[in-house]
Amino acid sequence: MPELLTRSENTALRLSPGCGMPWTQRINEFANPDRQAIIHSPRNYGAFRSNKKIETVFDTNVSISRVEPLLFTTELPFFQFLQPIGDKYRDLILYGQIRTLLSEGMISKAIKVLLEARTSGYPLSERLQRLYTILYRQSAVRKPITSAPRTKEAAWIKNNWDAYRGKWVAILDDQAVASGCTLKEVLAEVKKKQLSRSPIVHRIQ
Protein backbone atom coordinates (compact mmCIF):
# COMPACT_ATOMS: atom_id res chain seq x y z
CA MET A 1 0.00 0.00 0.00
CA PRO A 2 1.51 3.28 -0.90
CA GLU A 3 2.10 5.85 1.68
CA LEU A 4 -1.24 7.37 2.42
CA LEU A 5 -0.63 8.78 5.86
CA THR A 6 2.08 11.05 6.93
CA ARG A 7 2.94 13.02 9.97
CA SER A 8 3.35 16.69 9.45
CA GLU A 9 5.20 19.04 11.71
CA ASN A 10 2.03 19.69 13.59
CA THR A 11 1.57 15.99 14.15
CA ALA A 12 -1.66 16.02 12.24
CA LEU A 13 -2.61 12.98 10.25
CA ARG A 14 -3.38 13.68 6.61
CA LEU A 15 -3.30 12.00 3.26
CA SER A 16 -0.19 12.05 1.21
CA PRO A 17 -0.38 14.80 -1.37
CA GLY A 18 0.88 12.42 -4.05
CA CYS A 19 -2.32 10.38 -4.48
CA GLY A 20 -3.61 10.94 -7.99
CA MET A 21 -6.34 8.25 -8.11
CA PRO A 22 -9.73 8.36 -6.49
CA TRP A 23 -9.69 6.74 -3.07
CA THR A 24 -12.34 4.11 -3.86
CA GLN A 25 -10.41 2.81 -6.80
CA ARG A 26 -7.28 2.37 -4.76
CA ILE A 27 -9.16 0.37 -2.15
CA ASN A 28 -10.60 -1.92 -4.85
CA GLU A 29 -7.17 -2.59 -6.21
CA PHE A 30 -5.78 -3.46 -2.86
CA ALA A 31 -8.72 -5.71 -1.98
CA ASN A 32 -8.58 -7.58 -5.29
CA PRO A 33 -5.11 -8.89 -6.02
CA ASP A 34 -6.38 -10.64 -9.17
CA ARG A 35 -6.52 -7.35 -10.84
CA GLN A 36 -2.91 -7.38 -11.85
CA ALA A 37 -2.61 -3.69 -11.60
CA ILE A 38 0.49 -2.01 -10.48
CA ILE A 39 -0.77 0.68 -8.17
CA HIS A 40 1.59 3.35 -9.15
CA SER A 41 0.92 2.90 -12.86
CA PRO A 42 -2.52 4.27 -13.80
CA ARG A 43 -2.32 2.72 -17.33
CA ASN A 44 -2.61 -0.83 -15.95
CA TYR A 45 -5.57 -0.19 -13.78
CA GLY A 46 -8.29 -2.79 -14.24
CA ALA A 47 -6.50 -4.91 -16.89
CA PHE A 48 -6.52 -8.69 -16.41
CA ARG A 49 -3.45 -10.52 -17.55
CA SER A 50 -4.05 -14.19 -18.03
CA ASN A 51 -0.64 -15.58 -18.71
CA LYS A 52 1.62 -13.19 -17.00
CA LYS A 53 1.27 -12.31 -13.46
CA ILE A 54 2.69 -9.12 -12.35
CA GLU A 55 3.33 -9.27 -8.70
CA THR A 56 2.55 -6.22 -6.88
CA VAL A 57 4.54 -5.69 -3.80
CA PHE A 58 2.85 -3.72 -1.16
CA ASP A 59 5.45 -2.21 0.97
CA THR A 60 3.20 -1.89 3.94
CA ASN A 61 6.02 -1.84 6.43
CA VAL A 62 7.25 1.44 5.15
CA SER A 63 3.89 3.13 5.44
CA ILE A 64 3.09 1.66 8.83
CA SER A 65 6.38 2.74 10.32
CA ARG A 66 5.69 6.27 9.27
CA VAL A 67 2.54 6.37 11.34
CA GLU A 68 3.59 6.79 14.91
CA PRO A 69 1.32 6.43 17.89
CA LEU A 70 0.89 10.03 18.83
CA LEU A 71 -0.89 9.52 22.08
CA PHE A 72 2.08 7.98 23.88
CA THR A 73 4.88 10.19 22.71
CA THR A 74 6.56 12.37 25.29
CA GLU A 75 8.23 14.56 22.78
CA LEU A 76 5.23 16.78 22.29
CA PRO A 77 5.52 20.08 24.11
CA PHE A 78 2.17 19.98 25.92
CA PHE A 79 3.14 16.80 27.82
CA GLN A 80 5.76 18.76 29.73
CA PHE A 81 2.92 20.64 31.39
CA LEU A 82 1.25 17.40 32.43
CA GLN A 83 4.35 15.94 34.14
CA PRO A 84 4.09 17.94 37.42
CA ILE A 85 0.34 17.28 37.52
CA GLY A 86 1.08 13.57 37.18
CA ASP A 87 3.61 13.76 40.03
CA LYS A 88 1.10 15.52 42.30
CA TYR A 89 -1.60 12.98 41.45
CA ARG A 90 0.78 10.13 42.21
CA ASP A 91 1.72 11.77 45.53
CA LEU A 92 -1.94 12.19 46.42
CA ILE A 93 -2.70 8.54 45.74
CA LEU A 94 0.32 7.39 47.74
CA TYR A 95 -0.47 9.71 50.65
CA GLY A 96 -4.05 8.46 50.78
CA GLN A 97 -2.80 4.88 50.79
CA ILE A 98 -0.35 5.58 53.63
CA ARG A 99 -3.00 7.39 55.68
CA THR A 100 -5.40 4.46 55.33
CA LEU A 101 -2.71 2.01 56.41
CA LEU A 102 -1.72 4.14 59.42
CA SER A 103 -5.35 4.60 60.45
CA GLU A 104 -5.64 0.81 60.56
CA GLY A 105 -2.43 0.56 62.57
CA MET A 106 -0.52 -1.20 59.77
CA ILE A 107 2.79 0.54 60.36
CA SER A 108 5.00 -2.15 58.80
CA LYS A 109 2.97 -2.15 55.60
CA ALA A 110 3.06 1.66 55.44
CA ILE A 111 6.86 1.58 55.75
CA LYS A 112 7.02 -1.07 53.00
CA VAL A 113 4.91 1.03 50.63
CA LEU A 114 7.05 4.10 51.29
CA LEU A 115 10.24 2.09 50.74
CA GLU A 116 8.93 0.77 47.42
CA ALA A 117 8.01 4.29 46.33
CA ARG A 118 11.50 5.54 47.22
CA THR A 119 13.32 2.73 45.41
CA SER A 120 11.10 3.03 42.33
CA GLY A 121 12.72 6.39 41.64
CA TYR A 122 9.75 8.65 42.16
CA PRO A 123 10.64 11.62 44.36
CA LEU A 124 8.65 11.62 47.61
CA SER A 125 6.95 14.86 48.59
CA GLU A 126 8.00 16.61 51.77
CA ARG A 127 5.17 15.23 53.90
CA LEU A 128 5.75 11.67 52.68
CA GLN A 129 9.48 12.04 53.28
CA ARG A 130 8.74 13.24 56.81
CA LEU A 131 6.40 10.30 57.45
CA TYR A 132 9.07 7.91 56.20
CA THR A 133 11.68 9.46 58.50
CA ILE A 134 9.31 9.21 61.48
CA LEU A 135 8.13 5.65 60.86
CA TYR A 136 11.54 4.22 60.01
CA ARG A 137 12.94 5.09 63.45
CA GLN A 138 12.38 1.76 65.16
CA SER A 139 14.74 0.60 67.84
CA ALA A 140 14.82 -1.13 71.19
CA VAL A 141 17.89 -0.53 73.32
CA ARG A 142 18.74 -2.00 76.70
CA LYS A 143 19.50 0.53 79.39
CA PRO A 144 21.22 -0.34 82.67
CA ILE A 145 18.53 1.43 84.68
CA THR A 146 16.73 -0.20 87.56
CA SER A 147 13.70 1.28 89.23
CA ALA A 148 12.10 0.35 92.52
CA PRO A 149 8.75 -1.46 92.26
CA ARG A 150 5.81 0.94 92.39
CA THR A 151 3.52 -1.31 94.45
CA LYS A 152 3.15 1.18 97.31
CA GLU A 153 2.36 4.03 94.92
CA ALA A 154 -0.33 1.92 93.21
CA ALA A 155 -1.86 1.07 96.57
CA TRP A 156 -1.91 4.77 97.52
CA ILE A 157 -3.76 5.65 94.30
CA LYS A 158 -6.38 2.96 95.00
CA ASN A 159 -6.91 4.21 98.54
CA ASN A 160 -7.05 7.93 97.75
CA TRP A 161 -8.92 7.88 94.49
CA ASP A 162 -11.93 9.92 95.61
CA ALA A 163 -9.93 12.65 97.36
CA TYR A 164 -7.78 13.44 94.32
CA ARG A 165 -10.23 12.77 91.51
CA GLY A 166 -9.51 14.91 88.46
CA LYS A 167 -6.06 15.96 89.71
CA TRP A 168 -2.46 15.21 88.86
CA VAL A 169 -0.53 13.72 91.77
CA ALA A 170 3.12 12.84 92.30
CA ILE A 171 3.51 9.88 94.64
CA LEU A 172 6.61 8.51 96.29
CA ASP A 173 6.27 5.33 98.36
CA ASP A 174 3.00 5.77 100.28
CA GLN A 175 2.58 9.54 100.22
CA ALA A 176 1.73 12.30 97.78
CA VAL A 177 4.61 14.76 97.38
CA ALA A 178 2.77 17.11 95.02
CA SER A 179 -0.66 17.57 93.49
CA GLY A 180 -2.35 20.05 91.21
CA CYS A 181 -4.81 20.62 88.42
CA THR A 182 -2.19 20.64 85.68
CA LEU A 183 0.84 18.49 84.99
CA LYS A 184 3.00 21.57 84.64
CA GLU A 185 2.48 22.74 88.21
CA VAL A 186 3.04 19.25 89.64
CA LEU A 187 6.32 18.86 87.73
CA ALA A 188 7.44 22.31 88.90
CA GLU A 189 6.62 21.47 92.50
CA VAL A 190 8.50 18.15 92.32
CA LYS A 191 11.53 19.88 90.82
CA LYS A 192 11.50 22.45 93.61
CA LYS A 193 11.56 19.78 96.31
CA GLN A 194 14.68 18.10 94.89
CA LEU A 195 13.82 14.65 96.13
CA SER A 196 16.43 11.89 96.27
CA ARG A 197 14.21 9.50 94.32
CA SER A 198 11.91 10.35 91.45
CA PRO A 199 8.18 10.08 92.27
CA ILE A 200 5.64 8.61 89.89
CA VAL A 201 3.11 11.03 88.41
CA HIS A 202 -0.45 10.03 87.64
CA ARG A 203 -3.71 11.73 86.72
CA ILE A 204 -6.62 10.33 88.71
CA GLN A 205 -9.72 10.26 86.52
Binding site: R99, Q138, V141, P149, R203
Partner: protein, 135 residues
Protein backbone atom coordinates in the same frame (compact mmCIF):
# COMPACT_ATOMS: atom_id res chain seq x y z
CA UNK B 1 0.03 -3.37 88.66
CA UNK B 2 -3.17 -4.88 87.55
CA UNK B 3 -5.60 -2.32 88.84
CA UNK B 4 -5.33 1.36 89.42
CA UNK B 5 -9.05 2.04 89.20
CA UNK B 6 -10.78 3.13 92.39
CA UNK B 7 -13.12 0.15 92.52
CA UNK B 8 -11.01 -3.06 92.66
CA UNK B 9 -13.94 -5.22 91.64
CA UNK B 10 -13.83 -3.88 88.06
CA UNK B 11 -11.92 -5.66 85.29
CA UNK B 12 -8.21 -5.69 85.95
CA UNK B 13 -5.90 -3.90 83.59
CA UNK B 14 -2.12 -4.07 83.23
CA UNK B 15 -0.26 -0.94 84.34
CA UNK B 16 3.50 -0.60 84.11
CA UNK B 17 5.77 2.30 85.09
CA UNK B 18 7.45 4.03 82.15
CA UNK B 19 9.53 7.08 81.36
CA UNK B 20 8.62 9.10 78.30
CA UNK B 21 11.03 11.29 76.35
CA UNK B 22 13.15 13.56 78.50
CA UNK B 23 10.63 13.99 81.31
CA UNK B 24 12.38 13.19 84.60
CA UNK B 25 9.41 11.52 86.29
CA UNK B 26 7.82 8.13 85.82
CA UNK B 27 4.24 7.57 84.67
CA UNK B 28 1.86 4.65 84.80
CA UNK B 29 0.76 3.38 81.40
CA UNK B 30 -1.72 0.65 80.56
CA UNK B 31 -0.66 -2.20 78.28
CA UNK B 32 -3.28 -2.42 75.55
CA UNK B 33 -2.63 -5.01 72.82
CA UNK B 34 -5.85 -3.86 71.12
CA UNK B 35 -4.56 -0.36 70.46
CA UNK B 36 -2.36 0.32 67.43
CA UNK B 37 -0.46 3.28 68.84
CA UNK B 38 0.60 4.69 72.16
CA UNK B 39 -1.84 7.36 73.28
CA UNK B 40 -0.82 9.39 76.30
CA UNK B 41 -2.50 12.27 78.10
CA UNK B 42 -2.34 15.46 76.04
CA UNK B 43 -0.57 17.38 78.83
CA UNK B 44 2.32 14.91 78.82
CA UNK B 45 2.83 15.34 75.06
CA UNK B 46 2.60 19.12 75.45
CA UNK B 47 5.24 19.03 78.18
CA UNK B 48 7.51 17.22 75.73
CA UNK B 49 6.81 19.82 73.05
CA UNK B 50 4.80 17.65 70.64
CA UNK B 51 1.82 19.22 68.92
CA UNK B 52 -0.65 17.98 66.36
CA UNK B 53 0.57 18.28 62.76
CA UNK B 54 -2.37 18.64 60.33
CA UNK B 55 -0.10 17.83 57.37
CA UNK B 56 0.13 14.21 58.52
CA UNK B 57 -3.41 13.70 59.79
CA UNK B 58 -4.80 10.21 60.38
CA UNK B 59 -7.94 8.97 62.14
CA UNK B 60 -7.80 6.17 64.69
CA UNK B 61 -10.97 4.53 65.93
CA UNK B 62 -11.05 3.97 69.69
CA UNK B 63 -13.67 2.87 72.18
CA UNK B 64 -14.33 6.55 72.91
CA UNK B 65 -14.86 7.33 69.23
CA UNK B 66 -12.60 8.38 66.35
CA UNK B 67 -9.56 10.47 67.25
CA UNK B 68 -7.78 12.57 64.66
CA UNK B 69 -4.09 13.02 65.19
CA UNK B 70 -0.62 12.81 63.74
CA UNK B 71 2.08 10.20 64.30
CA UNK B 72 5.32 10.93 66.15
CA UNK B 73 8.11 8.62 67.25
CA UNK B 74 8.84 9.22 70.93
CA UNK B 75 11.32 7.41 73.13
CA UNK B 76 9.57 5.28 75.75
CA UNK B 77 11.56 3.57 78.50
CA UNK B 78 10.04 0.52 80.16
CA UNK B 79 11.41 0.53 83.70
CA UNK B 80 12.60 -2.74 85.18
CA UNK B 81 12.99 -3.46 88.87
CA UNK B 82 15.10 -6.48 87.98
CA UNK B 83 17.58 -6.48 85.12
CA UNK B 84 17.92 -3.79 82.44
CA UNK B 85 15.25 -1.36 81.37
CA UNK B 86 14.34 -1.10 77.69
CA UNK B 87 14.25 2.09 75.66
CA UNK B 88 11.90 1.75 72.67
CA UNK B 89 11.25 4.24 69.85
CA UNK B 90 7.46 4.05 69.86
CA UNK B 91 4.77 5.40 67.56
CA UNK B 92 2.58 7.84 69.44
CA UNK B 93 -0.64 9.38 68.29
CA UNK B 94 -0.58 13.12 68.99
CA UNK B 95 -4.29 13.94 69.01
CA UNK B 96 -5.88 17.05 67.60
CA UNK B 97 -8.38 17.06 70.45
CA UNK B 98 -8.19 14.66 73.36
CA UNK B 99 -11.61 13.51 74.65
CA UNK B 100 -12.27 14.91 78.12
CA UNK B 101 -13.06 11.44 79.44
CA UNK B 102 -9.76 9.92 78.23
CA UNK B 103 -8.92 7.58 81.12
CA UNK B 104 -5.13 7.13 81.18
CA UNK B 105 -1.97 6.48 79.17
CA UNK B 106 -2.01 3.53 76.76
CA UNK B 107 0.85 1.54 75.28
CA UNK B 108 -0.24 0.18 71.92
CA UNK B 109 0.75 -2.96 70.07
CA UNK B 110 1.86 -2.03 66.54
CA UNK B 111 3.51 1.15 67.73
CA UNK B 112 5.44 -0.26 70.68
CA UNK B 113 4.77 -3.74 72.08
CA UNK B 114 5.54 -5.42 68.75
CA UNK B 115 9.16 -4.23 68.98
CA UNK B 116 10.16 -6.43 71.91
CA UNK B 117 9.29 -9.70 73.60
CA UNK B 118 6.94 -9.59 76.56
CA UNK B 119 5.03 -11.94 78.81
CA UNK B 120 2.62 -11.60 81.70
CA UNK B 121 2.54 -13.66 84.91
CA UNK B 122 -0.81 -12.80 86.54
CA UNK B 123 -0.11 -15.04 89.55
CA UNK B 124 2.89 -12.92 90.52
CA UNK B 125 1.56 -9.69 89.02
CA UNK B 126 4.66 -9.44 86.86
CA UNK B 127 5.27 -8.09 83.36
CA UNK B 128 8.38 -9.59 81.76
CA UNK B 129 10.01 -7.91 78.78
CA UNK B 130 13.22 -8.04 76.79
CA UNK B 131 14.84 -7.16 73.51
CA UNK B 132 14.54 -9.53 70.56
CA UNK B 133 17.60 -11.82 70.37
CA UNK B 134 20.23 -10.70 67.86
CA UNK B 135 20.29 -12.94 64.76
Amino acid sequence: MDDLVGNPSENSKLYIPVKIGDLPNDFFAMVDTGAPYCIFQAEILEALGYTYDPACKITVHTRLGPIKGSIEMIRLTLLAHEGDSLEVESAFLVPEFMPASWPCNFIGYAGCLQRFCFAVDPSQNLFHFGKYPEI
